[in-house]
């Protein structure tokens, strides 16, 4: 059901621990050391305190000292209380198992207060990347570096902030947020960044709660009719003309001895006066294989967009055929998925399509052999796939001429630039 990214506990507060899979450069990224920030209101407050302290020491007015003492002690208490609020918080994220790019998905984020006595107030949960982007230090660094926008954070799972106003001791609360993933691919969860401005809103304190998790987002699947200009026909189940066990009536013939009495067709028997038996047609589903040629020549950025379109097209084809109930095989240079049916099989194919990458063309040659498709382990299988036994839809960027005619005869080829 919903994939449950195991509970991420923040066990000790002594030091912020980075999840192990993060590169060390993260520490320089300005997130971890600056887990404490002054807000706008806080700056005003500190300014006022400073002014007051000047006045108070100047005039020696004890009333001002009283106020100053109260204001300073508020700062101290604010620090203590906000630190306590962020302690012992566990978080978990629940996502659907099968997600498509661009699709609105509802995510449940749950926060649990592990403390026995103290409630936590006003906690905001974000992906660490998002908060990194907000940090003024990062912005300054980027501005110095030339304003190239940070690529990181695009593959973050949790793309929206959530806010929990109150969490009583030992209580769990959940928030449902709706978000979408922009592209296909592997999205990783780095952790959760929880921050609070509790109690007074003058200071913001944050900490990272380590977590691990990832999700594969499938490419966009569209209705096949969108591609009707590319596929002039919509193949279905093929019936092969052979007798055998099946459901459709093939013929009625004389009853033979030792045959099962079940096959007797009594109506025909009544008509003809002789025992007649039924024969059924054997259903044979034709084999179908979807081939995605990921070898692309050149490295222009337009090729990236075309490649993405190709992937999305392949996904849509696979979805259509599988939903029709056709046994589908899937082949790329790096992977071969044998025949299967059912939604699970579709997801299996989509999982490969989610991570498939564009590769540089290695061989200059014809390219339709084992060297080109190393995922297929033996030559015989490859020959079988390319034979007429298997109907194929091929998506490739190779020029038309490079496709062998034998292959062409039993397949329908779609070229990248047609998409």
């Amino acid at each position: 059901m919903l994939k449950y990214f195991g509970i991420s506990k923040s066990l000790s507060d002594s030091a912020v621990r980075a999840p192990r899979h993060l590169p060390r450069s993260v520490f320089k990224d300005g997130l971890f050391p600056f887990s404490f920030r002054v807000t706008h209101a806080g700056a005003v407050y500190l300014g006022f305190v400073f002014l007051l302290s000047m006045t108070a020491t100047g005039t020696g007015n004890n009333l001002m000292f009283i106020i100053l003492a109260a204001l300073l002690s508020s700062i101290v208490v604010s620090g203590i209380v906000s630190r306590n609020a962020l302690k012992q918080i566990a978080l978990s994220l629940q996502l659907p198992e099968n997600v498509f790019a661009g699709e609105k998905v509802s995510i449940k984020i749950s926060m649990m207060n592990l403390k026995r006595f103290f409630p936590s107030f006003s906690i905001r949960v974000q992906d660490p990347e998002m908060s990194r982007r907000e940090s003024p230090f990062i912005r300054i660094r980027q501005w110095i570096a030339g304003g190239k926008s940070a690529p990181a954070g695009e593959m973050a799972i949790f793309r929206k902030a959530a806010y929990f106003p109150v969490l009583l001791p030992r209580e769990t609360r959940s928030e449902l947020t709706v978000q979408s993933f922009p592209k296909r691919g592997l999205y990783k969860l780095e952790g959760f960044w929880i921050s609070t401005r509790f109690p007074f809103g003058f200071f913001q304190r944050g900490r990272l709660v380590a977590a691990e998790g990832e999700i594969l987002v499938y490419p966009i699947v569209q209705n096949i009719s969108v591609f009707s200009h590319l596929l002039p026909f919509l193949p279905g189940t093929i019936e092969s003309p052979h007798p055998g066990p099946g459901e459709t009536l093939f013929s009625i013939r004389k009853y033979q001895e030792a045959e099962s009495a079940r096959t007797i067709d009594w109506k025909a028997t009544a008509k003809t006066g002789e025992l007649m038996a039924r024969e059924y047609a054997r259903e044979e589903e034709g084999r179908f294989c979807l081939i995605l040629d990921t070898h692309v020549q050149g490295s222009a950025p337009e090729l990236d967009t075309m490649f993405e379109k190709a992937v999305s097209f392949a996904a849509s084809i696979a979805a259509h055929f599988v939903r029709e109930g056709t046994g589908t095989e899937f082949l790329t240079p790096s992977e071969y998925v044998p025949r299967g049916i059912g939604l699970d099989h579709l997801y299996r194919i989509l999982r490969s399509l989610a991570v498939v990458k564009r590769e540089k063309r290695k061989t200059a040659g014809p390219g339709w052999d084992l060297a080109h498709f190393p995922a297929v382990k033996n030559d015989r299988l490859l020959k079988e796939l390319f034979s007429e036994k298997v109907f194929k839809i091929i998506v490739t960027s190779s020029p038309r001429e490079s496709v062998p005619s034998a292959v062409l005869r039993s397949s329908h080829v779609v070229f990248f630039d047609e998409l």
Binding site: S73, R124, F200
Partner: protein, 718 residues
């Protein structure tokens, strides 16, 4: 209670605390207080955001600048005080804001206004009402700021959500505030209380530790200046009498002598006068000369061997006179009195404190003259004789009377004593003020006609009579010892303690005090009012002495003392312990003030709240049941709800989604489990089968009782 309502409640608490503080301090009039309260209540009940948008709101905003002419009228005609007018203006602005509350910054403005009001009240007075307001302010400020921050964080999130159109904001939750419901109000308030206490706890040592640069230059401004007749340049006979009607506190004195040790006739000398013109006393010499300082003190005289030193600390209210009071003979005065000057009469003057309270220390030598040393043979210095024996033309009978009474006296000193005694025993004390016709001699009228008067008359009579006998004497106005406040260990001197006496010059001592006035009756004060007064008075004094006058000198002394103790471990522990104990005791006594009343009110309120629930159950519910014709179904539900409430009070609650039977089974192991199970079965039957519970009411009651018993039995078990 929902979040928006809670937020409004704490904000209003905050606003009220400032408002109550300034009302109690007398800065704003009662009329404006009542009007503002009405606005406050109205604004609480009504949704002011709607008003703001409506026509009424616009009218109000239009009226707002009309406050300025009102302010001018107020200042010039009504209250005549800048401070009062300003705060009336502030109150007006606050009232308009209250009626048109809509944005966050409106709330912020009201918070700031409340803070200002609290500050103003603080500078006026520190009394139980103020302290209560201060605590309330602190608590509601903490709560308001916390809730305010939560509101803003939520708004920030909603704003972000709108900015990214791909991400659909909170479709599932509505306006966002539902996120906050149900809001755990009790937890929030307890947390706020905890934070407030923590802040108080930390700010107290912080206050004492913050470095001070100056020497207690804070003069606590006083709202009122006491008019002090009798301490100006010219004192007519009868002036002192005018202030003797009032019981306003003039000053408080702390001495280093215990209550029993301090002579009962000690007086706080104010100003002496040497020139009498028949109706009034003045000073012949106006020159005021500076006094040399030595260390922390102004040094007036050297200490002699036989000195009987008394250390006095004066806490004087804002007075219209610049006289410095101290008991005769002053040897030194501390420098925090300001710029000290003196004149040839021995009067001490400071730079005036008509607006501020004043605090200083004086060291005096209280002389007890030895009669055997007084001999007429010692000569009186010429200049003194010249100045202090001048007598204007007065009724000749006065001189005759003086001579007659002192016939038998052996020496000058004896004569003075005799006259003093004579006046004291022969004439009556009376405070009735009588004007004297211009022609008459007031002293002669007093001595021969009326034969009664107040202290000025007695003193003037004695002074003149002594002068006519050739003994230098001068009139002194000041205050009597006052009333001892055993809680604060201080002497409270009021206006009715104002007194006149004389000083006469007798070598080798110099000027010696004589007081011919018979004892004056004190106005009676009930024991209770005395106790209450003493308590709050002592508290005020403690606050002023230790907080307001806390300065770098005290700080340094405190730190030095602390470091001293660090040297010796044993005495440190003992010392601190003893110190703490003493401080707690005196502090506790000082602070356990007439706030007994306040605490009683709070206790009554709490008791009332606690009693509400049982009261409801015992009285209201049965009445309701009998009045209303209940249908059996709601009776059944009531029956079950009662059982649930019983369990709820022990902390067992029905979880959402749980059926009654599941709940009952879940209690397994608890002593009340079987009773509750039986009850639940009966409830199920009554509820879901077509069944009238009234038919088995007795059984139902029995089950409830069984449940109650098993619950209390379970509770009493360890």
């Amino acid at each position: 209670m929902s979040f928006p309502r809670l937020f409004k409640a704490v904000s209003f608490c905050l606003i009220s605390s400032g408002f109550v503080a300034i009302t109690a301090a007398g800065i704003v009039t009662w009329i404006s207080a009542i009007l503002f309260s009405a606005v406050l209540i109205f604004s609480w009940v009504v949704d002011s955001a709607r008003i703001e948008r409506s026509v009424a709101g616009r009218i109000l905003k239009f009226l707002a600048p009309g406050c300025i002419p009102l302010f001018i009228i107020d200042y010039t005609l009504l209250s005549r005080s800048f401070e009062n007018a300003v705060f009336h203006l502030i109150l007006f602005v606050a009232a308009i804001k209250l009626l048109t509350l809509s944005k966050d910054r409106d709330y912020l403005l009201l918070y700031v206004i409340s803070f200002t009001q609290l500050l103003a009240a603080a500078s006026r007075t520190v009394d139980p009402v103020f302290t209560a307001c201060f605590l309330l302010f602190l608590f509601s400020a903490v709560a308001s700021m916390i809730l305010f921050e939560m509101r803003r964080s939520n708004a920030r999130l909603q704003k972000e959500a709108k900015v990214h159109p791909v991400i659909v904001p909170r479709e599932l939750h509505g306006t966002g505030m539902e996120l906050f419901s149900p809001f755990p109000v009790k937890t929030m308030l307890v947390t706020c209380a905890g934070i407030t206490l923590l802040i108080l706890f930390i700010s107290i040592p912080l206050f004492f530790l913050l470095p001070r640069a100056t020497l207690g230059s804070y003069r606590q401004p006083s709202g009122k200046t006491l008019m002090t007749s009798g301490f100006s340049d010219r004192v007519e006979l009868g002036h002192i009498g005018t202030i003797k009607q009032s019981d306003a506190v003039v000053m408080r004195v702390k001495t280093d002598k215990a209550f029993e040790e301090l002579p009962h006739d000690i007086k706080w000398r104010g100003l002496a006068f040497d020139l009498y013109d028949g109706r009034a006393w003045t000073r012949s010499e106006q020159a005021r000369n500076p006094i040399p300082t030595q260390g922390w003190y102004y040094k007036l005289e050297n200490y002699t061997q036989r000195a009987n030193l008394t250390n006095q600390t004066f806490f004087v209210e804002a007075l219209s006179t610049d006289a410095v009071f101290a008991s005769h003979r002053v040897l030194a005065v501390s420098r925090d009195v300001g710029r000290l000057r003196h004149d040839t009469l021995g009067n001490l003057y400071t730079s005036g404190h008509a607006l501020n309270k004043l605090k200083y220390t004086a060291i005096s030598d209280t002389i007890t003259p030895d009669a055997s040393e007084m001999s007429d043979l010692r000569p009186i210095p010429e200049d003194i004789l010249r100045v202090y024996t001048r007598v204007p033309s007065v009724d000749p009978r006065i001189a005759r009377l003086a001579r007659r009474v002192t016939e038998k006296a052996a020496n000058r000193y004896e004569k003075a004593l005799t006259l003093e005694r004579y006046l004291r025993s022969t004439y009556e004390y009376s405070l009735v003020l009588r004007g004297t016709p211009k022609s008459a001699d007031p002293l002669a009228m007093f001595l021969f006609d009326v034969r009664k008067g107040h202290c000025e008359y007695f003193a003037s009579a004695l002074a003149i009579m002594l002068r006519q006998l050739g003994i230098p004497s001068r009139l002194v106005n000041g205050f009597r010892r006052g009333e001892y406040n055993s809680i604060g260990e201080s002497w409270t001197v009021r206006q009715y303690d104002a007194h006149s006496w004389i000083e006469a010059y007798f070598p080798p001592y110099g000027w010696i005090e004589f007081d011919p006035t018979p004892p004056e009756p004190r106005p009676p004060r009930s024991a209770l009012s005395r106790l209450l007064y003493d308590l709050s008075d002592a508290a005020n004094l403690w606050w002023w002495e230790n907080i307001v006058n806390y300065d770098s000198a005290r700080q340094r002394r405190a730190v030095a003392a602390f470091l001293d103790r660090l040297d010796n471990v044993n005495s440190r522990i003992r010392g601190i312990a003893a110190l703490a104990h003493g401080k707690i005791q005196s502090g506790a006594r000082a602070f356990a003030t007439g706030w007994i009343i306040l605490l009683t009110i709070v206790a009554l309120a709490a008791a009332a709240m606690l009693l509400i629930r049982p009261m409801r159950r015992l009285i209201i519910k049965p009445i309701r049941r009998r009045l209303v014709r209940e249908n059996p179904r709601s009776l059944t539900i009531d029956f079950y709800e009662e059982a649930i409430t019983l369990l709820g009070s022990k902390g067992m609650r029905l979880v959402r989604g749980q059926t009654p039977l599941e709940f009952a089974h879940g209690l397994r192991g608890h002593p009340a489990a079987s009773a509750f199970l039986a009850l639940t079965v009966m409830y199920n039957e009554a509820r879901f089968a077509r069944f009238d519970i009234r038919l088995r009411a007795r059984e139902a009651e029995a089950l409830l009782n069984a449940l109650r018993e098993s619950l209390s039995a379970g509770a009493s078990r360890p």
